[in-house]
Symmetry: C2
Subunit: 205 residues, 2 copies
């Protein structure tokens, strides 16, 4: 165990070299989960798309749930980065507008599945996968909290009226993003979704 750790830390290669690129394989797994969701993504198709045998996947990423969570991490990125983005925006309005527009762009990428992985991959599922739904819910809740805090900040600073419904606007933004994901998966064009996003911003004072 000690030698193992030492070897890993020094970066020396011992034993048979891996035949896969970890980042690439994880990215492939992300795309599979993104497209088909957690439950409908079988280990066999994951194995195929990741170009890894099942035992290699388990050795590198743990079981299917762990793999999914790691892939979800790759999809969402660091949530504190989102907070930074929201806080560093000119206004809460601008932050929400950008969030919506960037979501639309991401949901309609040509080289990725349609919609939002966070929204669709665990939208429903068996009781055994309920914990994954909670993970997704918590991420949404966090982002909504960031937005709401920023809106309240703007209200105190006079950039938004004191009567603004921070909870309503933050919820609408997150809700609209999730709704845009559904429409994107239905095949709606980027142009149309951008128009819906613009329309949603009309709700702001």
């Amino acid at each position: 165990m000690i030698t193992m750790k030492h070897v890993e830390e020094s970066g020396a290669k011992i034993g048979r070299p891996r035949a896969f690129d970890r980042d690439l394989a994880l990215s492939s797994a992300m795309l599979v989960f993104w497209e088909h969701g957690f439950e409908a993504s079988s280990m066999s198709i994951l194995s195929e798309k990741m170009k890894m045998n099942a035992p290699s996947i388990y050795a590198a990423f743990g079981d299917k749930k762990s793999l999914f969570l790691t892939a979800l991490d790759l999809y969402t990125g660091d949530v504190t980065e989102i907070k930074k983005f929201i806080d560093s925006a000119e206004t809460a309005y601008e932050a929400s507008d950008q969030l919506l527009k960037q979501s639309v762009v991401r949901f309609t990428g040509r080289s990725t599945p349609s919609g939002c992985m966070l929204a669709s991959s665990v939208a429903s599922g068996s009781a055994e996968a309920a914990d994954l739904q909670e993970v997704a819910a918590k991420i949404r809740s966090k982002i909504e909290g960031f937005l709401r805090t920023r809106i309240e900040f703007d209200m105190r600073n006079g950039q938004l009226p004191k009567t603004t419904d921070a909870e309503g606007l933050a919820g609408l933004t997150i809700g609209t993003i999730q709704g845009l994901s559904v429409l994107a998966r239905d095949g709606a064009s980027r142009k149309k979704l951008l128009r819906i996003a613009e329309t949603a911003m009309l709700a702001w004072p």
Copy 2:
């Protein structure tokens, strides 16, 4: 075959009587699909909740996809009724507002699963279930069309400005409904969702 048809038409009972209530069983199936989605709803748990053996289910509803489609029909009801509702409303604004509010109520019912069966049950899935996703998409598209037509009607009648973005508002309404479903499944309260719905209506001119 001729006798069979005749017997069915005349309503006479022949053979062993069924031990299940078709409507009740279908309703139970709907609840299962609503909660867990199409793929995660196994025939074994459907069989349990419907209080029917698998062979009885297949005899009465066909295969799993047919059962799902029949259950989805029960959930959505007659879409032309929705069109009637939209057209008979005072205004397009009122129709959209009512649609949002009724959706929230339905998504947060105490005796039913959270969220929208149309939105969550086929939000993702295997390639073999892609046809079901299309069915859901078409229903959404139809309702969106009804709304858009009504908005354009109001624009011509002067109840809405000529500059109104009918596509944007109709899309926002449908999108928001789908987004509200996600938030409902996350555990958001009816009160909070109603506030988000109200906020969405602020986008109207």
